[in-house]
Symmetry: C2
Subunit: 336 residues, 2 copies
């Protein structure tokens, strides 16, 4: 189904112009009409244009009347724009049918929109890393996935994107990590615990929210973090060491945010480097620790994050979470 | 003056045992009685013992009756202990004359103590990096300072430490950076501005608080961040890119913390690496941006941070800030 997709840059400057072009071409190949914002390739220092430029781009995206407003990439730059954004205009655009899609730094805008308007945006790919990956198996920058050289955009991501734009998406399912029982220590007595084959539970009508952990935690204490009770919080991050992930989770814990949710769903945490003096402290240690601090389920392995294979998630929508052993499903039916 | 100094490890495991020994020897050479906590060299994963071990060490330090309770080093580990600390015991120890000294991860404990008890602790050196630096000019790990190979602990730091333990310290003075006027852009109109030779102002009776920016910002929204109005906020950090520094400052700004202070004093931000795609975005850019966001003075170059030459600062004390052009003075007189 042909859709009108508006491409804009609210955060970091597009550096990989080839990926940008491939992404645009791919969306056209999929049959869409692609409109490119005048400042999509602007640059000012590390940003996609100065603050006024990026702010205007966001507002042009809202005024575009497009079916989808898709960011070129993340990076850094949205948090400092948050007080100047016209949330009413974004809310109206969403009401008229524009789906805002992005991730990473875009989490800041998504959460601020949710806090200010209660409207749903989509956690999903950015143009460059999502649709702009190379389709030539022999290119040096082609990424590998599951040992197989990538042959273009990830199929699951594209199928989820198609589900979103056609309004046919009903949810996302995945299999959690197989986990060893945690090693008992004097200081970690798990309240929550890893999934067992016999586990089966459902959480109904809970607000799905979250995104990039570093960006989300940087909004704690500000008016741009939505105050969600009884929600399902999903989190991902890239290039953050497990100790840093733990410190950010600790902030959410001590701020009363984790305890107020019905479930925590951990996505992909990638591209960090353990060091010799970690001596066994690793991401799994943090998951065990997290389970020792909260009574709610902590799920793992949601296919979302800085990875090719990812689902699209409606941030702010009320969803159902169904868990059957290691199998988990987030269901949102027809959200519009 | 001979003092009783208690050495303990509330955060990361001591990895450089030689620095630990040199630090202890140096304090003894200075005439002090050094008492070493039973778990000072403990290790569990990256931590100086598991949570219970480090918590007990903090409480032993509080019960030691020492004149100074000095951490071996920072690292990571205090934030997750904060809900379990006996603040009443720490407050009593401070009342009886124990000065708690440290920095970096220790900022978490200092701010929590201030939030819970209103008591003063000292931002200052840790044993290993402060007193344990090599005194042999030809050692491979000797650090250089101003182009001259270090010959042991920094003299200014040691003089400030001596001022603190003798109660003779009256304050700290330094010279701010010489700054170019910021380049005008459409989005940055400075409210505050760099110091001029003609600037002269004084802020009286303001609570001095702050420390490590990453640790402080990770406490926003939690009960462990003191709610200080009309204070003087000092900040430092290590290995954080300017964009990350800016994002953390943005959190403090949007949370209403920066605007509630009378001055912001930036210490040393070190060991970060700019990248080609920063394209002119640098620490000074962040300082200019910060000045565009707040009306209060933003001072620079406080000799405090992850650097050898640093002053000791009474966190939670009421101080006077006197500025005369680039020259700045923090005055706390006889605080006890």
């Amino acid at each position: 189904m042909k859709k009108h997709i508006y491409i804009y840059s609210p955060s970091g400057a597009v550096r990989d112009k080839a990926a940008f072009k491939r992404g645009v071409a791919r969306l056209k190949t999929l049959g869409h009409e692609v409109e490119i914002d005048a400042a999509a390739l602007a640059s000012h220092q590390r940003f996609a244009g100065d603050d006024d430029t990026r702010l205007a781009a966001i507002h042009r995206a809202a005024a575009s009347g497009a079916d989808v407003a898709l960011i070129t990439r993340g990076g850094y730059g949205l948090t400092r724009l948050l007080p100047r954004i016209n949330y009413k205009a974004l809310g109206k655009a969403i009401d008229k049918g524009t789906q805002f899609v992005g991730m990473s730094d875009f989490t800041a805008l998504q959460l601020a929109v949710l806090a200010r308007t209660g409207k749903v945006t989509w956690a999903g790919p950015a143009l460059c890393e999502g649709f702009g990956v190379t389709d030539k198996a022999d290119e040096a920058d082609g990424h590998s996935c599951g040992g197989v050289k990538s042959l273009g955009p990830d199929e699951i991501m594209e199928a989820c994107f198609d589900d979103m734009i056609t309004g046919q998406g009903e949810g996302a399912g995945w299999r959690q990590l197989r986990e060893a029982a945690p090693v008992a220590t004097t200081s970690v007595a798990e309240k929550s615990r890893p999934p067992k084959a016999s586990d089966s539970f459902t959480v109904k009508h809970a607000a799905l929210w979250g995104g990039n952990l570093a960006v989300l935690s940087s909004l704690v204490g500000t008016p741009f973090l939505p105050q969600i009770k009884g929600g399902i919080l999903f989190l991902e991050d890239v290039a953050e060491h497990p100790y840093s992930i733990e410190r950010m989770l600790t902030q959410l814990l001590h701020a009363g945010i984790l305890g107020a949710q019905k479930a925590i769903v951990l996505g992909q945490f990638t591209e960090y480097k353990l060091v010799p003096h970690d001596k066994g402290f690793k991401l799994q240690t943090v998951v065990h620790w997290l389970r020792s601090q909260v009574k709610i389920p902590v799920l793992t392995n949601l296919p979302f994050g800085h990875v090719p294979t990812k689902v699209l998630l409606p941030v702010g929508a009320h969803v159902e979470l169904a868990v059957d052993g290691r199998d988990a499903f987030l269901l949102w039916g027809h959200h519009h």
